[in-house]
Structures are given as C-alpha cells and as structure tokens.
Symmetry: C2
Subunit: 456 residues, 2 copies
C-alpha cells in the first residue's frame, strides 16, 4: 500500500465510524449514496478492512447503503457479511431493491441466495419470488409492493393515521399518491398528496371530486420501456401497476424511472459502440476485455470481408497505386455519414419520435440528406483527387463512388435499425457493425470497380 | 394531398374540436402531450388548417400544449397566432416554460419576443428577464419561481389555505414540499408533503421536529449538470435553488431534471456520432444536412491526412499489393477498439463514475485491456495474413502493427476525453474525429512503415 493510500484509508475509516456512531444516536449526517462511495473506496484499498466495517454497520443503515452499491458488490455480499445479516438487511429494503439484491446474489451463488431467502418471513419470501418471476422487459420487474392504498369508503383521517404508523415503522416512504381501491383491491384512480392535503380529515375518499383524481395505470406484463416514455411525456411522479383484472399490484416511482432511463441510455450508447453496459460495470478487467474482444472479433470478420473485396482488384491497384491511397477516404466518409444517420434514427426511435409507421418518411429524409451531401463531397474529393494525381478520370471515379457510398450510408443507416426493431431486436445492438460492413464493402467495391472499368 | 392524408386530417380535426369543446365544459380527456402530437400532425398535413385551429384553442389549454411542442414550433408561434394571444398563453405557463418560450421566439424574431413580453404584466416581465439572464449551464436557468414557501412561525393550516387558493387559481402545481423560510426569505429547509400531511393544521411549522426536514439546496450560479447527478444519487423530488446569500429563488422539480437528463444523453450520443442535437430537432432538412456536412468535412480532412500517410509508402505498396488489401484491417480494428474505450470513458465521466483524479486508473485499465486484446488479435490476424498470402514476414508485420494500433487506441480513447474535460471542453464533441485520426494514421503508418523496413 502506498503512503497516500494508507492516509486516505485512515480518513475514510474515521469518517465511517463517525457516521455509524451518529446513526446509532439517531443522527443521519450523510446520504447513504455518499457512504456507499466511501465504503467502495475502502474496499478497493483494503478488502479485509472493508469486510470488518461492513460487519459493524447496523442492518437498517446497511440496507440503504447497499442499494447504492454496484451489482458486483451486491453479488458478493454473502461472502462479506453472514447470510443471517444479509437477510436482516434485505428485510429492511423496499421490495424492489430486496428482490434485485436476491437476484444479484443468485447470479453468483444460487444456494446462498436461497439460504438468505429462507431466513426471511413467508410474506417477504412470496413478494420477492413474485417480483423476480417477471422478465427484465416487463413493467412488473420494476415495481415495488410498498404503497399507500385507501378504500373509497374510508375516512381520510383514518387512512392518514395508517400512513403515519407505517412511516414510523419505516415501512413506507416516497409517497406521492393515495391509490384508491374498492373492496376487491381493484384500482380506481390515484389522488396526489398535494390534493389530498387540502381536504378535511373527516371527509371520506368518495367525497373527493372526480377532477382531482388521476387515472394512469400500467399493466404488470406491459413493456418496461413504455413506462419511461409515459413518465417523461405525462410528467408523472408515480404510476400504479395493475394486473390483467385491474387489481392493484404495486407502483413505480419517478426515482425508479430515472434510474431505468439512465441505464437504458447507457445501454444504447454502449451498444452502438460495441460494448456491453452490464459487463462494463464489472470489476474484472478480464471480463470487460473478453466482451470487447467479442465485438472486435465480429469487426475483424467484417474487415476481412472488406479486404476480400479489395483483393478482387489487386491487379487494378498494382497498375495504379493512387487507388490504394484514395480508397480509405470513400470508405471512411461512408462510415461517418452512415453513423450520423444510424445514431439519429436509433435515438429518435427510443424517444418515440419515430414509429415504424414513419419509416418511409425517415428513409426519404435520410436518403435526401445523404444524397445532397454525397454530391457535395463528390465534387470536393473529385477535384482534390484530380489535382493530387493529375488524372481527370480518377477524379470522376472517386466522385461517383462517393455519391454511391453516401447514398447507401443514408439508406442503410435508416433501414438497419428500423428492420431490427421490426424483428423485435434492439436496434442499437450490432447495427453499427452491420452498417460499417455495408459502407466499407460498397465503398471499396464501387471505387475499385469503377476504376477498373473507367481507368484501365 | 393524398386520400389517406385527407382522411387522417379530417379525423384529427374532429378529435381536436371535440377536445376543445370538452375543455370548455371543464372536462380534460386527453393529456396536453397527446394533443400536441395531434396538432403537429395537422401542421404537417395542412399548415392553414393548423393555424385556424390554433386560433380556436383557449389560451390556458394552449399553454399546456405549447410546452409539449418542439423548439421550432415555439419559435414560429407569433406568426401562427397573434402576439396578444401568445402573451395570454405565456401568462398561463409556469415561469420556466414561459421564459423558454420567450427565448425561443427571440431566436427567430427578437422584436416579436419584445412585443409579447411588453404585453405581460410587470411582475411577469421581471421574472422572465431574471430567468433568461442565466447561462445555459447554470442551475438558475432550469428553475421555476412558482413554489410553496412557508414561514417558520406560520400555522400549517393557514399555509394550506394559501396553497389551496393558489392551486384553485392554477398558480401552483406539482408541489412536493413546503419550503421553510424566515422573515428575510432565507432558505431553512424543506418538508415533504408526505410528512406535512401527518401534522395537525393547528401546529406551527417551527414545531415540526428537525429529523423531518430536508436540507438540500443548490446555488443558482452552480453547474446545471451537477443537479442531474444530485437528483439521481439522492432520489430527490424537487430542489430549492438559492442565491449566494441563501435566499430562496425558485425550485427545480424531478420533471425538469428528467427532461434535462434526456437532453444531455441525446447530446452526448449525437456528439460522439458527429451530429448536433439541437439542429437535428429542426424541421429543415437543409439545416440538418448542412450541420452534418460540417462534421463530414472535418472527417474528410482527417481521411486525407491518413491518405497522405499511405502516399508516403506508394512504392512499397506497388511492390507488394497485399499491403493495400490488408491495411484497412489494422485501421478498422484500431478505430473500433478506440471507440469502445472513448465511449465508456465519456459516459462514465458524465455519470460521475470517473473523476479527473481517477484519470491514471482509467488510463491503466484501458491500456491493459487494449494491449491484451492487441496481442490476441495480433496472433489471429498474423496467422490469417500468413495463410492468405503465404508470406511469413507479412504475418509478423501486421501482428506488430495490430499491437501498436490497439495500444494507441486504448491510450488515446481514454486520454482524449480526459484532456478535453480538463480544458472545460465537452468531452463528447469532436473526440471521435480526433480518435479515428489517430488510429487511422498510427494504423497505416505502423503497418506500411514496418512493411517497408522488414519486407523490402
């Protein structure tokens, strides 16, 4: 350990011990997110020290810290603190965080996850199993069961008393609405706290006028990515999740959604660059490198395909070496123009600005832009090639192939994500590789092919 | 107009007239976001029809619709409805939306914006001028002035009566907290409605125990992108914005933040692909194409630089045309590996996962990964080149240059964004072009240079 590390470690340990002592006296001075950051720093410098501190942190505080920790730390948690304590920590979490923790542990050690689960009470076990039965793209996977539901016939004052009890027991937090249900737990609507606070406690919920009640809800089996757009388009704070019979199952809050949104955006960006968002979060450089190597392998195959195309024209190149000098320009411009189109199309599809119905409009727009830019850069590169090599027809060849390649870049940049989406494949994954394969091959083939016909 | 368009237009007009009629009877059946979408569709099919409908929509409803419209539609609004009506619409907006609208109009027609502004009352004018005086990267630019502030000595019941009056007048909505201030409007803390609702109306705010009060606030001159991380890390609903003397100026809500977050993510993704997020939102294909051409021009220059490097080695290529066939592989692999590193670095910097202090750690990680993958792909491509062209030394040459290029890809992929950030330049803008210039030039130079030395 370096000296700076020793000093940093001492400071961090001092701070965290302070926080624990304060917490035991009922004082919360740091946000759990910040404690989690400090704890991660300790873990990186000295794993044993980290382990012994984790053992000291009270379960209720640890629950808040752990939900702010990355997946790989949650995965290994049963090797850091006892399964008994992990169970206690889990009990102190909201159901969505608890089920995610159990899922993460199970990814590394299924039997350990089962042990933790078995130490929870029956109700907690059932809830976690219910939530973890959802697929990742289902809305239900992101809901929490903790919510403030009220019966239409109930007194507002009675409901608030119940809310207070649950809040005092730390069973409920982040409340935005009272969710109205009937005797069968069917969802009837939700009333925001900013409305509810203005009514008398002696009133019943059924006395609240209809225009104060919101009616948004979403099916547990529905597509999770649709909820993100619902929250941003309709400015929601929380959303009731219901089953196919309209029974209230749980809720999703805007905090869950902004986390999900950030994750989706990271995934999209990473997918376009040929990296995996989940694996990049891992600690192991080996795993990260392996995944990147996978995408590089695919790129190698497509690069070799492009080279095979060049190989067809080896005698042409031998008789005019200027072709070898110029050919990467055509391919590079196609790749860039195509990436522009592809990125805009993928993003606007994700934001709901392009639907499959608009496909024709999008393609026409992109082809128009790429065609106009194609002609522009055809003239520029044609003149450059002519003045560089003093061969007029070489300028013509590169100009024509520039138009052809930028046209195909615009066309395929728009069509590839639209087609992938049509087949229910994430349009961000793999589309860049397909696109650059097209623009490389079209670029080299058109340029060298035209050169063979026109120049030789 | 095609037949489908005529039919669609008729349906849309019918629906929107229905909505207007309902609204006048106090019934809101569609979310303004959805009405905005329909209105945009009408605008695209028949601009005159759009204009005449806009004139019919009541100002209060139009305010809600217009805030859901894209920038270019807000910019032109004074040419669609009278400046008098735009002023009325503006009055019905929250201050943040109102100031953005005036700003947008001023971008296209400064005098028209001034006319609208002059038709507002003095207080409204002052607020809009205050908000529009902030820079785009300042937190104050994203706040709204409408908030529920309460005095410490006030009765909870009295404050709620005030809230009800303001809500009934549509002056306040989306309330999450009561912001506590003293007699001088200094910010003391905020109490969430979910806590406030549990206290008796006869109690004073000063009777609320300290542990129910939150203390997050942010300076109006602070960096707007920091607030995004505050909201996601600390799960905030709304945040008080204060001046340098801790006077309460306004608030930012999670809805503002998720919009800002989505915009920032779009900007990041687009910047890496060489497109501008604001311009891509424009209606004009000409403007979009022009901006993309700008980035393509820069790419053309760098592609020519790479070609000049190839040109140095023209006699080498002439004597062994296999070099021309293989050289794009080295460049392409470098570009891809570099893009992987660059994207991950840019994203993790934006999410606050990499600070400038971690620069060394990031660079070491990225160089390690790219070096290992460099050796891996060196062996693979070395063998392929050997079996393809039956020249053992050619395999060696491409293998060495693969290691060199992937190493520089990893190094520059991490260093470029870190250095740009250091100089306060957005690390996403332009970094891809710089990177691929490096990987192209290093790729071609190392491969052809080594070939000249080793093979000839």
């Amino acid at each position: 350990m370096t000296n700076t590390n020793i000093k940093k470690l001492e400071e961090l340990i001092y701070e965290i011990n302070e926080t624990i002592a304060n917490y035991k006296n009922g004082i919360v001075d740091d946000h759990p997110f910040d404690i989690a950051k400090d704890l991660q720093d300790i873990r990186e410098i000295d794993f044993n020290e980290y382990k012994s501190i984790c053992k000291k942190i009270p379960s209720e505080l640890f629950a808040q810290i752990l939900i702010n920790m990355p997946t790989y730390i949650q995965e290994e948690i049963t090797s850091v603190i006892s399964e008994q304590k992990v169970a206690k920590v889990t009990s102190n979490m909201d159901s969505d965080d608890a089920s995610l923790l159990i899922y993460n542990i199970s990814q590394k050690d299924e039997s350990s996850a089962q042990t933790v689960l078995s130490k929870l009470n029956i109700e907690e076990q059932q809830i976690i199993e219910e939530l973890n039965a959802y697929e990742f793209n289902e809305a239900g996977a992101y809901m929490q069961k903790e919510l403030f539901s009220v019966n239409l016939k109930e007194n507002i004052g009675d409901a608030l008393k119940r809310l207070k009890e649950k809040k005092d027991l730390h069973l409920l937090s982040n409340i935005f609405h009272a969710f109205l249900v009937d005797d069968d737990n069917s969802f009837l609507g939700s009333i925001g706290l900013e409305e509810l606070i203005l009514f008398e406690r002696s009133q019943k919920f059924e006395e609240i006028p209809a225009d104060k009640i919101e009616h948004y809800s979403y099916s547990d089996k529905g597509d999770a990515s649709d909820i993100v757009n619902m929250f941003t388009n309709y400015d929601l704070n929380a959303l009731a999740i219901v089953d196919s019979n309209n029974k209230l199952l749980g809720r999703v809050t805007h905090n869950d959604i902004s986390t999900l949104m950030q994750e989706q955006d990271t995934k999209q960006l990473y997918s376009l660059a040929g990296v995996n968002d989940k694996i990049e979060e891992e600690e192991s450089i080996y795993k990260i490198g392996k995944n990147r190597a996978f995408w590089l392998s695919i790129n190698l195959i497509t690069a070799i395909l492009a080279s095979l195309v060049i190989g067809i024209f080896d005698t042409t190149i031998q008789s005019l070496v200027a072709l070898a000098v110029l050919m990467p320009i055509v391919a590079s411009m196609g790749g860039n123009a195509g990436t522009q189109t592809l990125t805009v199309t993928v993003r606007q599809m994700a934001l709901g600005d392009i639907e499959y119905d608009d496909a024709k409009k999008t393609i026409i727009k992109e082809v128009t832009i790429s065609l106009v830019n194609g002609f522009l850069f055809a003239v520029v590169i044609g003149l450059i090639a002519y003045f560089w090599f003093k061969i007029p027809l070489l300028g013509l060849v590169i100009a024509i192939s520039m138009v052809i390649n930028l046209l195909s870049a615009g066309f395929f940049g728009a069509v590839i994500p639209l087609v992938l989406e049509k087949f229910k494949i994430d349009p961000a994954i793999g589309s860049t590789v397909i696109l650059t394969t097209v623009t490389d091959i079209v670029g080299f083939f058109s340029f060298l092919g035209l050169a063979t016909i026109i120049l030789l």
